[in-house]
Symmetry: none
Subunit: 144 residues, 4 copies
């Protein structure tokens, strides 16, 4: 249960995690975070907006990126330092989102890895785009 | 149910939202996002790590910021464009997190508002720090 | 709140529990167990499979059998010793599943009861079939 | 997103998935399955039983085995045919459960794989033991 150390990582390494976003995902996420924006939980309101239907919280979609990173790249023991997220397009109930992470820079002397992170829907549209900076695990005693 | 337009916003405007992070918050968040990093859901593993106990997902803590923005500043109808997050310190089960947002720039011609966003725990330690860029609502028909 | 003791049970005793399986059941179950098989949570993937749609986890369907046993046969205080499950047919979102248990053997000297357990969908198709071995309650102080 | 075919599997292949069982896991599982046995959701009742505290549903613990199999061995596309489970010891709130699967037989002509499956707690006690029979994926079009 320990992820890849910096010596086991290379520019171009990739990971992904995919899931169809359900209404219950959005409702549970609202319940956890307190973000009850009517765009997410009020269908009558949402029908009158530009998007015409309830949309998922941008940060919920972005959370799938953590799954790709936490489970595979670099995996357990990595410390998340920074995340930059651009919200590009709405995610609707029933959209299938693929979150991807790809190593774009290895900063060995500071034990840092920079990744491009992005999410696409079932049509290939990029809905979230950004970067993450993580510190890969060294040894288990130092890991979290 | 419509938030503040750009003309109703000023540099220095503030909002906050606070909540004690429960074990069930972390478990539901793992279940929604698929992020089962043992640092979050495996106490036996977590006790051997630097932090000595399970910690909340950084993106879960950051989700509270959306609540502050969605509910108050600018409120319903705002479009989230960008979020930058620095994860500064761990959040443990039982920690009370206050998420804050403060307007730091108004870009009227492009209908954009830049906010500093940050979260502190019950001891005042900053656990998440960053910025957000949002587009405040114009009229309901344009809002989401 | 105590179930039937072995002297109150007879071969042929029956119990049942029925429920329509929702998308939120499947999503919560994935979140509890960590089983994010795309067959359960990825509609785009599932449409390309033999079953053409997301299906419920087999062990989720089987969980309804426990409800039939725990609530009625033998009821509170029984100890579950063994369960054998054959997964016969897929369960789709919206299927109404009836879980059934029927006593098929009473082993008095070892305080054991063997039950046939099975689940059918709204069309009468058997989706799960199997057997369970339980130890019925003796007195409350011994029960769990 | 396709798991290992029978030619990619060998006797002795192993997978595992670990998680601390929370009170919320037990409560959500009760809510999904309808199994409200007081041994699981009634602390006042449970304190008077042999185990002195609420215990997890045996089938909830067994569900972690599916995660190990669905995510890794054989992975996406496998069809679950049969599961045999012996419930050996109680699982309490806060126990950290490691679910394991190990290939014990490859039946090539029928495309079947037999696995030993078992769960241990943080002390190494086996809480669930058994076997599973799965049909590994052939091609995506046949998979589920």
């Amino acid at each position: 249960m320990i992820g890849k150390t910096i010596d086991q990582l290379a520019v171009g390494d990739k990971a992904e995690f995919a899931k169809t976003i359900s209404e219950s995902d959005i409702y549970l996420y609202a319940g956890i975070t307190g973000d009850f924006n009517p765009a997410h939980v009020n269908e009558a309101y949402a029908q009158k907006t530009f998007f015409k239907a309830r949309i998922a919280h941008g940060m919920l979609t972005a959370g799938l990126i953590s799954a790709a990173m936490a489970n595979q790249l670099p995996g357990p023991g990595a410390i998340y330092l920074r995340q930059e997220l651009d919200f590009r397009a709405p995610v609707f109930i029933g959209d299938t989102i693929t979150a991807r992470a790809e190593v774009i820079e290895i900063i060995k002397d500071r034990n840092r890895v920079r990744l491009r992170i992005w999410c696409t829907n079932q049509d290939g549209t990029v809905v979230v785009d950004g970067e993450a900076l993580v510190s890969p695990p060294k040894t288990l005693s130092e890991a979290h």
